[in-house]
């Protein structure tokens, strides 16, 4: 927004205020120049508009409307997040975190001006005094006319069932049992990554290396727009599809016919990776940290419960699994300095009632509480569980990765590299009966570069060994005993220079000295970047070959910590970052690596310029499917890494491919999508020659032609 637009907004605000009886004269005259000149807040906001345009608009849009690089900063979502907080917290948050590339040219006055601009655009119109770093008023109490006008102009968002239908009219619905989830029908894909062990593997083999070249599009379904990384569920031929904005659709997998649609709200453009099915219910986590159960036949809501308080910043971007009859899910948005911290929670599948919680941040008086230095509990942040865990029914343990401490760099969080911060950046094995911790392994203590180890835990049995594998942003494939948590080995899958040593016996990592001692505003260069190594895109375990096949990314970053005040309600991420190609890769951002789980050696790799944006999905037909930023959806030979089929979709291919069968016919499904956080942001600034539509979320379904 430029000065002219801001002035217009001020004029509109003044005019709207003037519509009240007490201000009729002012309304007739409009906002005079002198009244605007006397309004120091308006002047500050006008300066802020220029600063915003130069420093913020590239990601958040000139009108604060948001883009694939940054969220919108206006309207209901902004007020929901910031309405009950004060300008001082907003100023400190922006100063600590934005712009992500660095803030060398921005003074405190500039940040205050930007905060004033954002508030002004969001309808703060009762303030005449310029903001200062300690300005303390409730934002929502000082926004009236413009915000109200905006809300009136917005059509009401749909709620509940918007398209009525019944799955029974297509396929007789059979309730999903624990036994079905423990051993899914080969034709189904009934949970994220298909099975409790998270193999992302389909036992279907109709489509194989000999005929995959004949694969053709069966049908396509356009999805709602917004950030999207979905993993469709498929049960008895019906696809249950999570869309952006907390919308779920039931679609006939054979024909692409919509059966029902439900809007659980809030109606936004935010992402949700997966949903769950259990008994006769579809169970979803919402972006505002609720848990909602729908009737799987009709889409009608059955129950709803709050997981955490969204007004405190808590949110979800991944959904639950149902394990041991309980709905188990993680939590995100835990970077604020508030009383509550992040947790994994279990809920009764029939009612939503809370059964247990496991806190991922150890408080001072708890086991592990002495790993946070002298920090008061309120300033211990991070430990998000933003990727859905896996489950071993025999051990009755659920395995989750946790994210790193917040802010990102030790000096910003008023800690040192010695303050390990349990139970962040760890694998936690949690008892499904009562939520107690069975064991943990902290992959990267005192994480210092925004490279978390939160992603899927893949459970593999080799002979008598029960193993768990994970692969985080450092690009290290970790192997542990999943009964005891004992470290079993590791493999560096991409170049990393963050650690000078990884103990082959214990797995203990040692950071490079300059990373250990990074000071505020001091640039540190390291590989990989915050896009990973590996990120949220799931890897697949192909049991017939014993290969773990992972989608990897090859970029690096420069990182500089920012100062964060220990203020209640504050916190954040607090680093400036720049990105560049990983040396030695010839500019190939995308890599698929296949690793023997016994030897941990790389068996083959496939590299290309475009980054990969889907998980890998392998099949009994010896194929692995994956999609990329450049709109290509590919099938590789599991044993060689050779590309044996590819096609090009409407926009970047993003999400989690799945395979299913109906009436004996095998299908491959994948989504195209936008958004996707760092794995998209980073390639977008490095591989700028790769272009794609900034819209086009859709579900594509492929099959072989019938004889």
């Amino acid at each position: 927004m430029n000065i002219r637009t801001t002035s217009l907004a001020i004029a509109i605000a003044s005019a709207l205020i003037g519509c009240t009886p007490d201000n009729s004269e002012q309304a007739m005259n409009g906002a005079s120049d002198s009244s605007v000149a006397a309004n120091a807040f308006a002047e500050q906001a006008a300066v802020g508009a220029e600063k915003f345009a130069a420093n913020c608009a590239a990601c958040h849009g000139i009108n604060l409307e948001g883009s694939t690089l940054g969220p919108l900063l206006s309207g209901r979502p902004f007020m929901q997040r910031w309405g009950q907080r004060n300008p001082s917290l907003l100023f400190n948050n922006i100063k600590a975190n934005m712009p992500p590339g660095g803030n060398e040219g921005l003074s405190d006055d500039d940040y205050l001006a930007i905060a004033a601009h954002i508030l002004s655009v969001n309808g703060v119109d009762t303030v005449t005094t310029a903001l200062d770093p300690s300005t303390d008023f409730t934002i929502a109490d000082n926004a009236s006319a413009i915000a109200s006008l905006r809300n009136r102009n917005e059509p009401p968002a749909p709620e509940g069932v918007t398209v009525a239908g019944n799955v029974d009219d297509f396929v007789p619905f059979t309730p999903v049992t624990d036994a079905m989830l423990e051993s899914p029908d080969p034709a189904d894909w009934p949970m994220i990554r298909r099975s409790y062990d998270a193999h992302s593997y389909s036992p279907l083999d109709q489509i194989d290396t000999s005929n995959v070249a004949n694969l053709r599009l069966e049908w396509v379904w356009n999805m709602h727009e917004g950030d999207s990384e979905p993993s469709p569920l498929v049960y008895k031929g019906i696809i249950y599809l999570i869309n952006p904005g907390n919308v779920i659709q039931a679609i006939d997998g054979k024909t692409g016919e919509l059966i029902w649609e439900n809007w659980a709200g809030p109606a936004n453009r935010q992402d949700m990776r997966n949903i769950a099915i259990y008994n006769d219910k579809i169970i979803q986590a919402t972006t505002d940290a609720r848990l909602v159960a729908l009737d799987a036949r009709t889409g009608k809501q059955v129950w709803e419960t709050m997981v955490a308080d969204n007004s405190q910043g808590f949110e979800n971007s991944s959904g639950p699994i149902v394990a041991d009859g309980k709905v188990i899910l993680g939590l995100a948005g835990c970077a604020r300095y508030i009383k509550d911290d992040c947790y994994i929670s279990a809920h009764d599948a029939n009612t939503g009632e809370l059964v247990w919680r496991f806190n991922t941040i150890a408080k001072a008086n708890e086991p592990g509480g002495d790993t946070w230095g002298e920090l008061d509990d309120i300033f211990r942040a991070g430990g998000e569980t933003w990727i859905t865990g896996s489950y071993d029914p025999e051990l009755k343990l659920t395995y989750w990765g946790t994210a790193q401490q917040k802010p990102w760099v030790p000096v910003s969080r008023h800690l040192t590299i010695q303050d390990e911060g349990l139970f962040t950046n760890s694998t936690v094995a949690v008892n499904t009966d009562d939520g107690t911790l069975n064991w943990h392994f902290q992959h990267v203590p005192a994480e210092a570069l925004d490279l978390d180890e939160v992603f899927e835990r893949v459970l593999v049995n080799r002979g008598d060994e029960k193993l768990v594998f994970s692969l985080g942003k450092y690009g290290i494939l970790w192997k542990s005993d999943r009964v005891s948590g004992e470290f079993k080995g590791y493999k560096e899958t991409v170049f990393q220079n963050a650690f000078t040593d990884i103990d082959p016996v214990t797995g203990r990592v040692t950071y490079r000295e300059d990373i250990q001692n990074a000071k505020l505003n001091e640039w540190t260069s390291a590989c990989p970047s915050s896009a990973g190594g590996k990120d949220w895109h799931s890897m697949t375990y192909h049991e017939p070959s014993g290969l773990m096949i992972a989608p990897l990314s090859q970029t690096c970053l420069e990182n500089a910590a920012r100062e964060v005040a220990l203020v209640q309600g504050g916190g954040g991420l607090a680093a400036s970052r720049k990105f560049f190609e990983m040396p030695g890769t010839d500019g190939n951002l995308g890599k698929i690596g296949a690793y023997n789980v016994d030897t941990m050696e790389e068996v083959w790799s496939y590299q290309q310029r475009a980054s990969f944006h889907t998980g890998t999905m392998s099949t009994a037909g010896d194929l692995v499917f994956v999609g990329d930023l450049d709109r290509r959806f590919k099938a590789l030979d599991v044993n060689t890494g050779e590309v044996v089929w590819e096609t090009r979709l409407g926009t970047s291919v993003q999400g989690h491919p799945v395979s299913f069968a109906i009436d004996g016919k095998q299908y491959i499904a994948v989504t195209s999508a936008v958004g996707g956080t760092s794995p998209r942001t980073v390639p977008d600034v490095i591989a700028t020659e790769i272009t794609y539509p900034r819209w086009g979320n859709a579900l594509y379904v492929f099959s072989l032609p019938e004889d």
Binding site: F495, C527, F580, I686
Partner: protein, 149 residues
Amino acid sequence: MTKNNSTRWAANLFCMALLALFTAPLALAQDASFRAHLSKMPTTPQTKNAISGGGEVIATLEGHTLTISGHFEGMSSVATMAHVHMGPPAQPGPVVSAITAPDSTGGELSGQIELNDEQLAALKVNSLYVQIHSADNAAGELRGWFFAR
């Protein structure tokens, strides 16, 4: 360079010197060819259109003599200077020597450098890189580390 970086770099130099002590005879006996893929210096959403271009540099080693030739294109503004630097992959380091670049947004690069033992050792562990500076990006616009071909 910050104090920490200086400390780290001093340690790296010491290690590379030790490495050179043991590997120099071997290096002297072998000629080799190296390649650097030039890509954009670290960038952000705010600077991604202001830092641009790419290229390739080939370096041939004969004894201690490194002969450099290459090309670049698509920079946002004209090249002002080009150097070979010493630093491990993805970690910036000091200048070793200047090389020749045209006063243009693209063109040919050339140069010949007599490497000392320490620099020779650095080359063999992928710790030499080329950096091109431009009028609008004085701190550097393109960069690429040498790896054995």
